[in-house]
């Protein structure tokens, strides 16, 4: 299954002017637990998808919100010349097609 098919929400947004933060949220506790157990959503995979160094990727498991959070640096501070995404709202797509070895719920 692809992460994009398993998650209820995959979104990105600025966190301050230097970072973009990506939230992956699940409607069902069991799906969240399964994704967590699969360990496929990890720093190494995310860094590779975004062409970033692993130390630039922060990944959080957030049980209270049945969610994962990924925080990565922006290429340019918010709104400076050359910033491609003012609100950081379209930086979530590369993890959509992450393949996870999980059975459909």
């Amino acid at each position: 299954m692809k992460l994009g098919d398993l998650a209820d929400v995959i979104r990105s947004k600025n966190s301050g002017i230097h970072y973009v933060t990506i939230d992956v949220m699940f409607a069902e506790q069991s799906t969240y637990e399964a994704v967590k157990a699969s360990s496929t959503l990890n720093v190494e995979t995310i860094a590779a998808r975004y062409h970033l160094a692993e130390e630039d990727v922060r990944l959080f498991e957030y049980d209270s919100g049945r969610a994962f959070k990924i925080t990565i640096p922006r290429s340019t501070p918010v709104g400076s010349p050359g910033d491609p995404d003012l609100y950081g709202a379209q930086q979530h797509a590369p993890i959509f097609d992450l393949e996870l070895s999980i059975e459909p719920p």
Binding site: K13, H18, Y19, D23, F60, S64, T71, S75, G82, A93
Partner: protein, 463 residues
């Protein structure tokens, strides 16, 4: 210190940034619950440096006046203090005065009798230089260390105040506070701080309700939420009878716009939600316990400052030619860039005083070098963005580039009458002045009131 009251109620309205209103019934139902304060956040840095730099607002005046009229009249009737934070999008003096101008009109038109305080949080370059010399300004995130020249080249610098300036204005009898740049949390935390409530729960509640009805289900449309704070827990609920709330939604607000869902840094310290517990009381009410607050060794305020970078001109075009599309327009864009550099030299425009950004949509326009799949389809859109030292230079250089894209040569070219499709005439347009955040730092202050100025409307203070 132990809170003096058993329960504190805070009514939070959705942000005023985009001028969205809210159902008036939600406000009235919220006021019936006898809140101790009504708060609204009117600003953000989210939309970029332009509003602070240019001294303009994102919200339209009429839309802001509508919302403020409703809030000012209803809170006056209910005799509840109204706190408006980060006034006028960016919260500098010019933005606070813009907001106060509207407030004065409404007070006059509605014959309101309210004691109004304004709080300015602009930072003078003299003060910033003295703080810099005392080594009290440190970078936030990936900002570079501040220098004297950073301070000198900033057009406008604001400090995001904590709750204490609001508390001070309330202690002096303010019914309405129109405040400059504030931490989003401080607007909603101020009254709790004033009454001695625990930092962890008060800060967490303020963080949860900062965007008003955004946490409710459904989240569509602006709306109001009520926070109830005691020393052991807080509860939050939408005042709109058609909306619900569940623990996941409340917990998830710690994800929104924050880099780390467990730690949230404020002027007075850090909120820690590691042990927070969320539970449903009923389908509209969520209760939270266990949030902690770790006081900071030193009180700090975030500084935001902007610098004028130049002036923008744009050109946008489509490409359908298969040879160009297959190449992602790479070689043509490279030669366009060379021609712009040459032209700039002819015009005497120094290198480094202008920039040309070419975004190729359909290849990697949205993500640039972060794009994992820079694969082209059957057509591309190219956006040329020139920022130059004057509007005329920017316009001249973007035209050089767009004309090169139209008529320039490239390997395998067959479309010798024109390479690109412009969807607008003229093909180039002038943009606005362009700013960047050059200050995004944290400043240590002795007293939370040091970086602000509180002025009461009837004191004759009209700075």
């Amino acid at each position: 210190m132990e809170p003096l009251m058993k329960e504190l109620r805070i009514l939070a309205i959705n942000g005023l940034m985009h001028g969205n209103g809210f159902p008036e019934r939600s406000l009235d139902l919220g006021l019936e619950r006898d809140p101790h304060v009504v708060g609204i956040d009117a600003g953000s840095t989210d939309a970029g440096p332009f509003f602070l730099g240019s001294g303009t607002t994102m919200v339209q005046r009429d839309a802001a006046k509508d919302v403020l009229r409703t809030l000012l009249t209803r809170t006056a009737e209910a005799d509840v203090p109204l706190l408006v934070g980060s006034a006028g999008t960016a919260g500098s003096r010019i933005h606070v005065k813009w907001t106060m101008d509207i407030v004065r009109e409404i007070v006059e038109e509605e014959s309101l009798d309210r004691r109004i305080a304004t709080i300015y949080s602009d930072q003078s370059s003299e003060y910033l230089e003295s703080q810099f010399e005392a080594d009290r300004i440190e970078p936030l995130g990936r900002s570079k260390p501040i220098t004297r020249s950073t301070i000198k080249t900033s057009d406008r610098v604001v400090a995001a105040m904590g709750p204490e300036p609001y508390v001070a204005a309330l202690e002096r009898g303010a019914d309405v506070i129109i405040a400059g740049r504030s931490s989003d949390v401080s607007i909603f935390e101020a009254v709790a701080v004033r009454h001695g409530f625990d930092g962890g729960l008060a800060t967490h509640l303020a963080k949860v309700i900062e965007c008003g009805g955004q946490i409710t289900i459904p989240s569509t449309g602006g709306d109001c939420v009520l926070g109830e704070l005691t020393k052991d827990y807080f509860r939050v609920s939408p005042t709109n009878p058609d909306k619900r709330l569940d623990p996941i939604t409340v917990a998830s607000h710690m994800l929104y716009e924050s880099a780390n869902p467990y730690r949230f840094v404020e002027p007075r310290g850090t909120l820690d939600t590691t042990d927070s517990e969320y539970r449903s009381i009923d389908e509209k009410t969520v209760e939270v316990r266990g949030s902690r607050f770790v006081p900071a060794a030193k009180y700090t305020v975030k500084l935001e400052g902007t610098r004028l970078v130049g002036y923008r001109a744009l050109s946008v075009m489509g490409i359908r030619d298969p040879v160009l599309v297959e190449d992602g327009a790479t070689s043509l864009l490279n030669s366009a860039r060379e021609s712009v550099t040459t032209r700039a030299g002819e015009l005497g425009v120094p290198r480094g005083s202008f920039s040309l950004t070419a975004r190729v949509y359909g290849r990697d326009g949205v993500m640039g070098h972060n794009e994992p799949t820079p694969v082209t389809g059957h057509e591309l859109c190219v956006l040329l963005d020139v920022v130059g030292p004057s509007p005329e230079v920017a316009k001249g250089l973007v035209h050089q580039a767009s004309n090169h894209l139209l008529h320039g040569d490239f390997p395998g070219r067959k479309c010798t009458a024109g390479n690109v499709a412009f969807p607008i005439s003229p093909q180039d347009v002038s943009g606005t002045a362009v700013y960047e955040f050059n200050i995004w730092h944290r400043m240590v202050v002795e007293d939370p009131l040091d970086p602000v100025t509180i002025v009461f409307e009837r004191d004759g203070g009209n700075q």
